[in-house]
């Protein structure tokens, strides 16, 4: 038993020292001529598009290495407010960015409403239901309609807004299947478990297993805005601002559009 304790202690010291070295290595790099590391916290729904964007950016700016931290916008906002060090934040909704602005965590004047998303009705690729509009959702032959949980998921909140404005929200309560994030809603439709679902246009564009049959009518929901900003605590304000400028450039717009976003 004693040997076992000693063994464990040794492991602890070894791994901890390796871990610390790793940490030290990253914090001391700016001193040397090694590349600048930009930390970008971004909404999970931006994962694929941001990675492509970073790859393109890296070709033009080899001196900058980009490290992402993808999570839900709310969790990232909480972490940043509590001292999570990061240079840029790409949020999936205005709410979290507003909170950071209010608590003084943004670098003044850098906030941009970068992208806009839209809400679409999707069906499985081989669906024979012939749904054509949101209004068709009240048709009796539909069994399961996948939507985001309105109490916690942003897409669910927008969805509810649309359904209420169209006056069909009550018809659906018995058929609605609530997902805890938009990817789950997408997966249910893609696997034909649900007859149809309501997701962001970008999610619909990410898989060939679903097809878009309708977009939410104009004015039935608040605009779905993706703001971005440089954070006040950044160690590289210039490089961070430069990347944000790139994200708004023509080159970046092309990439965003490819993934289904509307550029502002």
């Amino acid at each position: 038993m004693k040997k076992f304790f000693v063994l464990l202690l040794t492991i602890l010291i070894l791994t901890a020292s390796v871990g610390c070295q790793q940490q030290l290595a990253t914090t001391t790099t700016p001193e040397k001529q090694s590349p600048i590391e930009l930390h970008i916290a971004a909404a999970a729904s931006l994962t694929d598009v941001m990675q492509e964007l970073a790859a393109v950016y890296a070709q033009e700016h080899p001196e900058v290495t980009i490290t992402f931290n993808f999570g839900s916008s709310g969790a990232l906002q909480q972490a940043i407010e509590n001292g999570g060090q990061t240079d840029l934040f790409f949020s999936a909704a205005a709410k979290q960015m507003n909170a950071l602005e209010k608590s003084g965590n943004l670098l003044a004047g850098t906030r941009k409403d970068l992208l806009e998303n839209s809400l679409v009705l999707i069906v499985p690729q081989d669906s024979r239901l012939e749904l054509n509009a949101f209004a068709d959702l009240s048709r009796p032959e539909l069994k399961h309609i996948a939507i985001g949980d309105p109490s916690s998921v942003p897409v669910g909140q927008y969805t509810e807004e649309v359904l209420t404005n169209l006056g069909i929200s009550d018809d659906l309560t018995a058929k609605a299947v609530y997902g805890y994030d938009v990817r789950q809603v997408l997966a249910w439709v893609a696997t034909d478990e649900a007859d149809c679902g309501i997701v962001y246009a970008t999610d619909a564009a990410s898989t060939p297993q679903v097809k878009v049959v309708a977009a939410a009518p104009a004015g039935t929901h608040q605009p779905i805005i993706y703001p971005a900003a440089v954070l006040r605590d950044t160690k590289h304000p210039e490089e961070a601002t430069a990347f944000l400028a790139f994200a708004a450039s023509e080159k970046a717009r092309a990439i965003f559009t490819k993934y289904g976003f509307i550029c502002k």
Binding site: L12, A16, G19, Q22, G71, Q85, R183, S206
Partner: protein
């Protein structure tokens, strides 16, 4: 080429966290067992992370160690930032695995006939020697079971880690968060690779542990 970082980080985090949990868990189990008052409250506090959803645990860790907290402020004096760092991942893993280590160890301690401890005391054996030479060796099975559970728990840890340590490739991205990131990026092939990896790893881990534990059990005292 598959990036091995998430596996390495998962292992580093799990090993470090489990080792720390091991010592703290035993210490707490021993301490709480010997407490005269407030045993129930202490027990509840240590067990709480087992009941709370991991994201809530992560949120509490943010509040506890964040820059607005007393601890966070103190750490900033030393220029230590915890949120979004590897030590944060270790802390998150410790907090979620500690209840398992603590509970199992305490159960093992309580299983031991108390008269054995009493006998040692009346025979003049010091508390320190009792702990090392009687309590620990005779509760080895339970302690090792706690260690296994804790390690398994840290391998699968997701919620508290992504909240407190983030999901930063090469720094805090573990196998679990890598799977999440891959799914979010619509890279199902990668997600499946990591999922297969974590399943394979866990299987191997549990099988070899069972093998080892069986050998330990068969070893006569």
């Amino acid at each position: 080429m598959l990036d091995w970082n998430p596996l390495i980080i998962t292992l580093e985090t799990a090993v470090t966290a489990t080792t720390i949990t091991f010592f703290i868990g035993i210490f707490l189990a021993y301490g709480v067992m010997r407490m005269h008052k407030g045993q129930g409250l202490m027990d509840a506090i240590i067990t709480l992370p087992l009941i709370l959803p991991p994201t809530v645990v992560g949120f509490f860790l943010l509040l506890l160690f964040g820059k607005r907290s007393f601890i966070g402020q103190a750490l900033l004096q030393w220029d230590i930032h915890l949120v979004f760092t590897w030590p944060a991942a270790v802390i998150a893993a410790i907090v979620v695995s500690l209840p398992l280590m603590y509970r199992t160890t305490r159960g093992a301690f309580e299983q031991l006939d108390p008269n054995i401890i009493y006998a040692a005391r009346t025979l003049g054996v010091s508390e320190w020697r009792i702990f090392w030479h009687i309590l620990l060796p005779n509760t080895r099975q339970g302690i090792l079971a706690g260690l296994v559970l804790s390690f398994a728990r840290t391998i699968g840890e997701f919620g508290a880690t992504i909240m407190f340590a983030g999901n930063i490739p090469g720094h805090t991205q573990t196998m679990s968060t890598a799977i999440y990131a891959a799914v979010q990026a619509n890279d199902y092939a990668l997600a499946e690779k990591w999922a297969a990896g974590i399943i394979l790893f866990s299987l191997l881990f549990i099988l070899s542990l069972n093998h080892w534990l069986n050998r330990q059990t068969r070893k006569a005292f």
